[in-house]
Symmetry: D4
Subunit: 247 residues, 8 copies
């Protein structure tokens, strides 16, 4: 007798209430899903269990989460959006290192670079530096070799063009730009690999905290460009790493 | 040189008598036609009085305004936003010619090109053609030599760069682009003359009828770029002409 | 004597005008860039020269571009956004086939599937079908094996979950959804490969033609998700193909 | 059951005399304190008169309103949006207790839980905690049993699904989420009771202080979801209580 | 009471055999029709599976889905957003009836009204009628008694106030309003039961297709108000029914 | 014995149920309001009961409403937003006259002009004519003398300035303008009487259907300017009339 | 000989340059405008020369402007947006008085109340107090009797209704409200005099700093309502005064 | 005339030797300082390389860039957005001067005024002063004679009109205005030369940090107006200079 039939029989006999039976039938569509599989896979492969988003968490909370992770056998931990003044409160942790521009702390070192190729991070202006570095350190943490092409905004095109060789040998390109965000389109038109565009909140007047750059990148006339959230250097570095590790 | 200045010059040189000139300046400024006063006096001085914005006016209204203008001594008239199917109803007017792509009618021909130099009109994609042509014909009408550099979008940068000579010898550049509007920044970074940017409503999805391009151009990281309204090819051509006639 | 010195000498001697010389020095930063290289690389590798965006082009224009491409030795051509009623005017072209749901025409057949793995296209509702199919056919055209998981919206989660195996063996996932766009986050939380999210303009009331879905996807709490423009199935399929061909 | 109804019931059963009841209903509805009239009569009937919105009021003002309410015979008072540092200035009030995460003070204790069933409060991320707790404490204040299902964001779906039992036995569900707000749709697809969605202002970049989540929830593809204002945990808890007390 | 619960109750009372009940719960949940899977199992449990969203579906598609549903044992079917001119193509279906103002078709009749109390539907202006009626018919379909209070906009307050009796005895109120959406606040201030607000796209000028009303309702100063999507009369009726059936 | 006491007594004796009693106490705050007074006052004095908003109503509906009004003793009726092609279906009504530009029908003639002074209606461009005329005819209908100053946009300032006398002797000014809406500020700076600004949806590109003009007028640097909804000529004319009749 | 002819003659004779002559003709349209008239009229009648907008000006600047005004014979001066902590630096000025809630300083006292009738200022919540008081003090400064009806939000309708008499005898009503701004519509529906609506930036979540209230008021379904800028109590008070002084 | 052109002219005239000129053009374009490459070559040619955007850079960074520029032979340097309190840390640099209102530092003095004519800078209110001055000093730095017409807002039109002479003899006009931005249209209607409009973020309520002014200027009904970004006085001054130097 199937479980379902047994439960109905129990209802008939008054052993099981109709409410209990109803719950059984409501949950049934999800009964056979092996979430252990999902969960395990994620923690082993997806590899972003070792990431702590530092903003909005107290230093004490961060310290605790790091400890829990290390105790659970995690070898490397990445803490993003950790401002320089909070570094001191954590630097006694063994294996701690801090990247100023990226505002990232790494515990236990970077992974070995084992990606398909290099990830190039191109940025437009000095003020996009932080976001670009967040992408670079994130990519390196997850085992990627990176190339920086900075200050290569479209208003000084020759600077970008004089780095064509490096740009063209990368397997993935991350384009970081605020203001009008034109860099993503220009880069997308030059290379033949996936471009991850990161709008930054850098800009004045009608840039609306990155919205102008976001819309600009969304509407890129170049194929092969996709976009992550404003200032989300981590997201770009992480997805670039996923792409660079496809096999 | 505006007509007014030319006439004064002719007076100075004795080509035109003071009486003729007086008549010119005295012409009844408010020739009363019931739907729209044609403000000729100011127009004559400012030099854009010979322009009729065709959209939203009936063909009959346009015909009447043209007649009033010609009767008042106007030699050339420009009608913008005149769709091709309305052309037929007006082409019997003497001196009428029509520019299909620009959707512009000219009565009495273009002025002689007497600007300082050439105006280059650069456009990104095929779909920006209409707006670019509106700028070109407007500029020519007001006495400017023009150079077209079309299909020079930033996703195919070499196409733009292979026209560097023409671009760099222009005295004013009009950059027409929809989608992400990056063209304005790239052009602004290449030349050292004023750039008038025209966002177009061309685009899909999150381009929001030109808003994305407008914001992008507003936030251009290149100096020397100013922006006119979405699809306003006439406005760009007219201002470029003003610039090209400064003396 | 360097070219530069020679030109200065010519200026001194009055052989070359100062204007000509100025142009020379303005162009110089771009002189050494091998655009042939850029151009050639793009056309050979980037492989999107064979794509025609059908919307906004007349059937006659499309026919001409196809002919030019084939004459130039192109073997396969993809025409997107070609409505069914225009199919008839082109189907006499040799090797023409048409995909109704995707509104795509292919001339010369698909490329052989030679990607790293499979691309899964997941869509939320019946009304997202068109955009999902545009992604599928685009991916197949560029040589990718695809898997469709349709009608898997988050309001009926078990349907998505019952396809976990297929989802998890894909190398790239394209998530297509309108309305609240929650699908991208759910899928991004399940898989450990890059997810390309496509917001669609499907929705009512406050969905604002896809803006709601776009913002939702931009703000995905799952890592590894990037976003293309609203309804841009082609863009997602194309980037997924780039990712699936990285080597 | 509102106080008013309870008193009438007591009259019917002879527990309360008609004179006592009359006094109850006659209490001067506009006890005049100069900064804000406390509208008690309507409050008593509607049952939300015992609520003070703390934000924007000085501690002294709050203390006065509490006193007026208690003097008028109110037994329990709820003060929302009261930051922890203001707690000290009020904790001498008899019967005062404070809930840190919810930033709520309660004077006179919670009502007895007399609702139809339980109210489940589901939240997506740690940062939504405050809003979720405001909903929980509000619901408990008005006499409801609550169940917390926290950190159950859609990017970690299994965490939500492993609480199916609790979710499915609730009579009302409150779904609290920032960023992309997908939680409301997922929950709405799982349960068959009313879902009150609360967008939170948690998020970065293009989340626009909760607008992204609000639009997302508004466009939920699941039926049975309605939405309250951004961060309005009180509103959700209050409406859930109304629903849970319908008779 | 959902069908599922009713069947279990019948099992308990011996009215329905366990085998019949088992058959009911086993009915193939994915009856495959090519354009849209009809997910019956979940629908049956949740009780909104008998709903077809008519907009965007061809009449032929709708007919097929209806047939599949009826074949699967569904007794009543609701089709929303079905314009009057499509009614004729479906009215041969047995048990078909059509509600003009609501643009809803019902097959198999309404359920018996078995809710806790009445649902009042209040609307502001004549032009909100369609949305209000969609809410009314939906509520009636799911077994609720309804009361209509129409043309009760806040600019003519006395009309609303003269229906206080009916308004105050309802167990749930649906407030439908376009333009400035003030009705929701006014109603929310009068009653002490849950109010579901429906912004409508009715309005001119700066009403922005219902956005003005939506924001207005979101910001209601009255407690106990939650909001569904613009013009979503169905959603309001459905949620009101869920609330009115809580037990 | 007061009513309240009596009811409580009845509750005690079981003559009245607690629910009935509750309803009594819920309605009590509204018991003493003399709505007849409100209602009567409105219909007699406010005088906008004689207005029918034509848009969205069928001609048959309009005819019926007119008849009902006339039967009820109304002497004049105003129908706004009645397109010219619908005029014919109504012109058989006695006393019917139609104003083409304003798209207004008047039955029974205008009231006598009995205001304090004249109302000046200033408009910027030909395309604002319709809205301006709606304001003029509305004002005249409600018994005001009006002065038209048209085509007085700020780009041709002397035209406005040459009507200074008329402008300055008006008691109220209505300023109608689309595009950048600058007229309201200029007029507001010239006169010392109330200015009602009407943004119009006239404009192109980034005018966003009147939003640009609306914001512009809202931010007017001139004191004494208030704003009505986009294209709401009726609203402006009506309020101007109220102002012009204050006594 | 006219001036024009004389100038042309001078041009011919070389006495006047063409540039000077051109300037003469450019200025001519403005030659006959009697700006003295405009200016004088404004300063005498418009009466807002005595107003100083305090925000963004240093206390020293304000002191200087006041002195200049008094020296020029101005008897009363109004300073708006003057925070309480700056009061002390100015209170030594003779005739200085300060209104805390309104954040307004008055030098030289209010004008005598000489308007047609009273101006009623209605506000919704405690938090709208500042803006309402700014309107009240402004109106009183310009010689108007005022009536305050505060805390009369639509969620507690009877409070507004219990002030019907005062509301209905006012000649102008100012309605101040944040959040959903419904008050303007309700008041507009009750009275038959002009209503000036002031949206306030009070609100939470999706109120967007007053935008929600602004849109709501713009879309008011009541006739006779016009709107001033967000938080612009001064503007409302000033226009109400203009209206109340029409004669 | 750019420096580059001047040197070539000197070469032609034998004032500068070809070797000196060659050295000038060969100066290492990428003098490497680690935070920002100073791209001199292009700067020299384009003539805006001598500009440092001060905001977001540390004083130390600015000092370094200045030194690098001077070492490379740059004669004048402009530093924008340098707040007064940072002036002190730099004023020891030889040739340093500071402009308070403009928040600009100039090292090495202004260039000689060698433009075609004068640039007029018109501003609306006191609060637009900073932006206007940024435009003035920028224009003067690049060798232009300037005329200031301040406090000439449209609400006090006569102030603007009383400066007609100066306005009409300028070769380029910069119109600076916040709030409703009407100034651009009024000025554009008066003059017949290019107008560069600068929206400012000055304003309250619904001015949305300059967006209202920006849209207003974009939609100017006057021809010959183009717009730069909000508060971008530098951009306006720079473009005006380009225009004023066209030859």
């Amino acid at each position: 007798m199937t479980d379902a039939k047994k439960i109905l029989e129990d209802v008939r006999q008054g052993i099981v209430s109709t409410d209990e039976a109803l719950l059984y039938f409501q949950k049934e569509p999800y009964a056979d899903i092996d979430f252990a599989k999902v969960d395990q896979k994620r923690s082993i492969i997806q590899g972003n269990g070792e990431v702590i988003y530092g903003q909005g968490k107290s230093t004490e909370q961060i310290r605790k989460i790091i400890k829990t992770m290390l105790d659970a056998g995690q070898k490397n931990v990445l803490v993003t959006r950790l401002s320089a003044d909070r570094k001191k409160e954590l630097e006694d942790i063994e294996g701690f290192s801090y990247y100023d521009d990226a505002q990232i702390a790494v515990i236990g070192g970077m992974r070995c670079a084992d990606g398909i190729g290099k990830i190039a991070v191109v940025s437009a202006g000095t003020s996009d530096l932080k976001v670009a570095e967040e992408a670079v350190i994130t990519a390196r943490f997850f085992g990627n070799e990176t190339v920086r092409i900075y200050d290569a905004g479209v208003a000084g095109l020759h600077r970008l063009l004089s780095n064509l060789d490096e740009l063209m040998t990368a397997k993935v390109v991350i384009a970081v730009a605020g203001m009008e965000g034109a860099l993503a389109s220009v880069v997308g038109g030059l290379v033949s690999v996936p471009v991850i565009a990161v709008p930054t909140s850098v800009g004045y007047g009608a840039s609306f905290d990155g919205l102008s750059a976001l819309l600009s990148m969304m509407n890129s006339c170049a194929s092969g460009v996709s976009v992550v959230n404003i200032d989300n250097g981590f997201g770009a570095g992480y997805q670039a790493s996923l792409i660079n590790h496809i096999r």
